[in-house]
């Protein structure tokens, strides 16, 4: 990784008119403390981090401020799509098999300040979508949903091949680009003016709050806003069975600029970002933290 840092600095020094990326810090997280960690998710302040194991079983919280890791739950499925609500709580979904071998999913909220965990959405069959909101959060099930509080401000989630944007409870679904397989990984920009999401067969898209397509950033996965104008994403290749390369990219929100933060051979994946801090993992579960400064030309 030292080699990577030097490379990036050299790239920055050589870049003329383009943006310059300065890696201020790049380090391994929780080395020797935690086992393999996957699906990292930062809160909006970039100071708290959720992570889980390779199968999303269980959920843990790491606080950068006090360097303490807390186990939130050991339940299966909890680590996938867990997120911080606008109210600071951690929302996650667990699952269990019930009659006729149907999968039922239950919504939970973990109060970080009080270290308390509560079921907020009883078990139901079918999908339960995480809904990210400016204030609070929601879990939208096929039969019942949870919202907290009632007026959450802007909300965003994907459902099938639509991205759903809500304003104080009034939701509208958009399909700005065609995608048979569906949309994923929707998130609001930090300034709450745009939405980034991934459209299968197409890649990462940026739309405004009225669903108008602003930019397409390329066929990368798992977009996460680094700041108001930059995102990080995963760019991976595979042979149909196994990954053959994976790297983290830095993308300008208008699609005009792409910069490799790691090499394809680094097998780095699943990035999350907030306020200049990037956290990602590797194929064998090593968490890394990278803080970036981007100097505009």
């Amino acid at each position: 990784m030292k080699h990577l840092l030097l490379t990036l600095l050299a790239t920055a020094a050589l870049a003329g008119a383009a943006q310059q990326v300065v890696v201020q810090e790049h380090r391994r997280l929780l080395q020797g403390v935690e086992g393999p960690a996957y699906y990292p998710a930062l809160d909006a302040s970039g100071t708290r981090l959720l992570f889980t194991d390779a199968d999303a079983c269980g959920l843990k919280l790491y606080d950068f401020n006090d360097d303490v890791t807390t186990r939130i739950t050991a339940l299966p499925g909890a680590g996938m799509d867990a997120f911080f609500g606008g109210d600071g709580k951690v929302y996650y979904v667990t699952q269990e098999l019930r009659e006729h071998n149907l999968v039922y999913r239950t919504g939970h909220a973990y109060d970080v300040a009080r270290h308390t965990d509560a079921v907020v959405l009883d078990a139901q069959h079918g999908a339960v979508h995480p809904v990210k909101a400016m204030r609070g959060a929601a879990l939208k099930g096929e039969n019942r949903s949870f919202r907290a509080p009632a007026t959450m401000g802007l909300t965003v989630y994907t459902e099938g091949s639509t991205v759903v944007i809500g304003r104080d409870g009034r939701e509208r679904a958009y399909t700005p680009v065609p995608s048979h397989a569906g949309y994923l990984w929707a998130s609001l920009s930090p300034d709450a003016t745009r939405v980034a999401f991934f459209a299968a067969e197409r890649g990462i898209c940026i739309i405004d709050l009225d669903g108008n397509l602003l930019a397409e950033l390329g066929n990368y996965e798992m977009p996460a806003w680094l700041n108001e104008h930059y995102l990080v994403a995963q760019h991976a290749t595979d042979d149909g069975h196994q990954f053959t390369s994976s790297q983290i990219l830095l993308l300008k929100d208008d699609g005009s600029w792409t910069h490799a933060l790691t090499q394809p051979s680094s097998m780095t994946m699943q990035p999350t970002a907030a306020r200049g801090r990037v956290v990602y993992t590797t194929i064998d579960g090593n968490l890394f933290e990278m803080t970036l400064q981007i100097v505009e030309p």
């Binding site: 990577l4 199968d55 499925g77 149907l102 999913r105 048979h180 990984w185 290749t237």
Partner: protein, 796 residues
């Protein structure tokens, strides 16, 4: 208000129904006909033709069928792709996320398998894999999902299973023990009850042809839906069945070089018409087999009951079979159709055509008979006699219309043979010929192509670099595909490749046969190797060598052998005043790159330009070691396989025979000093013996002589650098990860130091090299029980 209540009630009921509706996520594996897709090249399709067999095509057709049948059965479905373009080849983590987001109850990833051996092996059976150790699925019930599916898939009677009809189920952590906990990409992080099914083996070629049939793929998708019904307890929820099967000729064999098992050895019937008849003989439906050599037909969504199925081909007699259709089940009904044959068989033509007074024939002449019908092979072979008796074998071609008898070895020389096909020989319909058919011929005097020389020889110690395999025969070898009959294997059985652009072989103008095959890669000192020369090496008349040759040899570092002997005296230096007394007109001396890093003495000669039978090289000013009795003199030689003899001479008049130059490349040649006193080398003599091998080689050549020392034993390592086709490793150099790719599943990779010590091993296709010191390593990639080794560099 009333309307509102009704609407609400209806919505609630619909919601409850939805709540109980199983949701299946379908992932037709691969996609896009790209590098991560699987193309099996089967005629008439060329490599890369998207209409030919691609795993992504058949996976998609199966997925379509599963989606269609599940929807008819009241399921919710999601499917990861509807097309087969590069954009539809979604990343593994995208597929997992889409499944999780859909809220599906189960996930099927639809694939077919490959042994990795291509057409040389016959494996065909279905296999289900879930995430976790076998019996311990990471997502509970995934093992049950696989078992419920397998129970239906294995009942498929249109195919031929090669494992006795068992559905194989594994957890991916158990099946790929070297992958650790990485497992299959589409199962990793997948929260649905999930599995990946390898429905059959697409590199079992008869199966690849079946997978070209949309009907065959449809049946597999339909069988998936029955597996889902079994898993969700819904087997009684569907009231239609399916009739399908395979139509083959009852005896005509499929003529192909690939492996076939059981009934797959017989030809499928293309464009056969199949009618489904009710109990009154009324036609219910009509189907047809396609023209892609699979013989598959299908009737979808048939009402349960008793039926008759009639099959007929353009050249085959009709056949009728009863079949019973049950609800939500597959009724298999295969046919073995009889070809229409309406006259007795006769021999239309035969070779050889020979009569008394004609020139005798070659000792390998085959007997070929062409018939008017496809013949019953067993009756023909039983009715065939040759006198005097000769062991031989039959090959059948042209759908059994033509038989060839070839002797296992050559016939006896100068012998008259009589061949008779008895009257009992029958065609495929059972009618005999009725009268005997007889020919005679006489053979000439030459039985085999004789070997004159070969290198390496048995137990030879061969220098590791630039090995040139050479084989000489007493007449010209047929150069067509000649190189394919020469093989060098390492001690692990991996075949090494030749530098094909540098292969040289005899031309029509040459007086004897030869081929020289340089290896593409160096040998590893200390390793044992094996040269195999196939018995099929033959001259232009097809006269082959008497038997396959197996020659074991050992790789050494000749320079190391010499250096281990002690102090080395260079012979190509300026301080050595080398001369050729008496050989100036037909020989020359020069300096050329030696093996020890400096210059070697280069001797060029041409005995054709002189009456002399030896050439002396004087080494004036040589300050070499002094040899006492019992010492061994060692010299580095680069041979030209001239079969000349090389003798070292000493200042006090001793002749020390060093070696016969029966080798190519470098060699540490030795001579023991058995005379008392101290002796210093003052030159060499190259002697031309009276040897047929020399005469055949020609008279000109070049010999290099490098250092001079006493002999010591050599050293070795034990790492082979042999690479399999289709396996690659990158990036090189690597700083973070080394990743291997292959056409088949990679079981594990290892990183090995050049001294043989393994420094890292991973059960996936990559190694994290961030903690490994910079340097040159060998990366071993394990694929299907074979190992491919690649030299790589780790950088910091």
């Amino acid at each position: 208000m009333k309307k509102s209540i009704l609407t609400t009630a209806f919505a609630l009921m619909a919601g409850m129904a939805l709540a109980q509706q199983p949701h299946v996520y379908i992932n037709p594996g691969h996609g896009g006909h790209g590098s991560d897709d699987r193309n099996v090249v089967i005629p008439p399709f060329a490599a890369g033709d998207t209409l030919g067999f691609w795993e992504s095509n058949s996976n998609l057709w199966k997925g379509f069928a599963l989606q269609e049948t599940l929807r008819r059965k009241g399921y919710r479905t999601s499917i990861s792709r509807l097309k087969n373009q590069e954009a539809n080849d979604l990343n593994l983590s995208t597929i997992v996320a889409l499944c999780n987001s859909s809220g599906a109850d189960v996930f099927y990833s639809i694939h077919s398998n490959a042994s990795g051996y291509g057409d040389s092996h016959a494996f065909n059976y279905p296999m289900g894999i879930y995430r976790g150790y076998t019996g311990q699925p990471q997502v509970p019930n995934s093992d049950k999902l696989a078992a419920d599916l397998g129970e239906t898939l294995i009942e498929n009677q249109s195919t031929v299973w090669t494992n006795g009809g068992r559905y194989i189920i594994y957890g991916d952590w158990t099946f790929y023990p070297d992958w650790g906990l990485q497992g299959l990409g589409v199962l990793r992080g997948n929260k649905a009850v999930s599995m990946l099914d390898e429905g059959s083996f697409h590199d079992y070629y008869p199966e690849a042809y079946r997978l070209l049939s949309h009907d065959y793929d449809w049946v597999e998708g339909w069988n998936f839906s029955i597996g889902a019904d079994r898993y969700f307890g819904r087997l009684d929820n569907f009231d239609k069945g399916v009739v399908t099967g395979c139509i083959r000729d009852d005896r005509v064999l499929r003529e192909a070089a690939y492996q076939m098992v059981g009934v797959d050895t017989r030809v499928p019937v293309d464009r056969a018409t199949v009618r489904l008849l009710d109990t009154n003989g009324q036609e219910v439906a009509v189907a047809q087999t396609d023209s892609l050599w699979n013989g598959i037909y299908l009737f979808k969504y048939v009402e349960p009951g008793n039926y008759q199925v009639e099959a007929v081909g353009a050249e085959h007699e009709p056949m009728v079979k009863p079949v019973t259709v049950e609800a939500n089940a597959t009724a298999y009904c295969n046919f073995d159709l009889k070809k229409i044959r309406n006259t007795p068989p006769v021999v239309l033509s035969c070779s050889p055509q020979w009569a008394d007074g004609d020139d005798p024939l070659l000792c390998n002449v085959p007997v070929v008979m062409q018939f008017n019908w496809d013949m019953d092979t067993q009756s023909v072979e039983q009715a065939f006699t040759i006198t005097p008796q000769v062991k031989g074998h039959f090959t059948w071609e042209d759908s059994n219309y033509r038989v060839t008898f070839a002797p296992d070895d050559a016939y006896a020389a100068n012998t008259r043979y009589t061949v008779t096909l008895g009257a009992a020989a029958c065609h495929g319909g059972g009618t005999p010929m009725g009268e005997d058919f007889t020919i005679t011929f006489t053979t000439d005097s030459r039985r085999h192509l004789e070997q004159l020389a070969v290198f390496p020889t048995q137990d030879a110690q061969v220098h590791l670099t630039k090995l040139v395999v050479e084989f000489r025969t007493d007449s010209l070898m047929n150069p067509y595909d000649l190189n394919k009959h020469f093989h060098v294997f390492d001690s692990d059985g991996n075949e090494m490749t030749f530098a094909m652009r540098s292969v040289k072989n005899n031309k029509k103008s040459d007086t004897f046969g030869f081929i020289r095959l340089p290896l593409a890669r160096d040998l590893v000192p200390g390793q044992d190797y094996r040269l195999v020369v196939d018995r099929e090496v033959a001259d232009y008349d097809g006269i082959h060598i008497p038997d396959t040759l197996h020659i074991g040899f050992h790789a050494v570092d000749a320079a190391l052998q010499l250096r281990d002997g002690g102090e080395v005296t260079p012979l190509g230096g300026d301080d050595v005043q080398a001369t050729l007394p008496g050989g100036d007109a037909w020989a020359s001396l020069a300096r050329a790159a030696g093996l020890l890093g400096g210059k070697a003495l280069q001797v060029k000669y041409d005995f054709a330009k002189t009456d002399a039978t030896s050439l002396r090289v004087d080494l004036g000013g040589l300050q070499g070691p002094s040899f006492a009795q019992g010492d061994t003199l060692a010299v580095l030689l680069q041979g030209d396989m001239s079969f000349n003899h090389l003798v070292a001479t000493t200042a006090d008049g001793l002749d020390l025979p060093l070696d016969v130059i029966d080798f190519n490349g470098w060699k540490c040649a030795r001579a023991r000093v058995d005379w008392p006193g101290n002796h210093r080398v003052d030159g060499f003599v190259l002697q031309r013996p009276d040897d047929a091998r020399v005469a055949k080689q020609g008279t000109a050549g070049t010999l290099l002589i490098d250092g001079l020392a006493r002999f010591k034993r050599g050293k070795h390592t034990d790492i082979a650098d042999v690479q399999l086709r289709g396996v690659s490793v990158g990036p090189n150099p690597a700083t973070d990860y080394l990743v291997a790719t292959a056409d088949a599943l990679i079981q594990a990779v290892e990183l090995v130091r050049l001294d043989g010590v393994t420094v890292a091993r991973n059960a996936a296709n990559y190694i994290n090299v961030t903690g490994i010191p910079a340097g040159v390593y060998l990366m071993r990639v394990h694929v299907n029980g074979l190992t491919s080794t690649h030299k790589v560099m780790v950088a910091k």
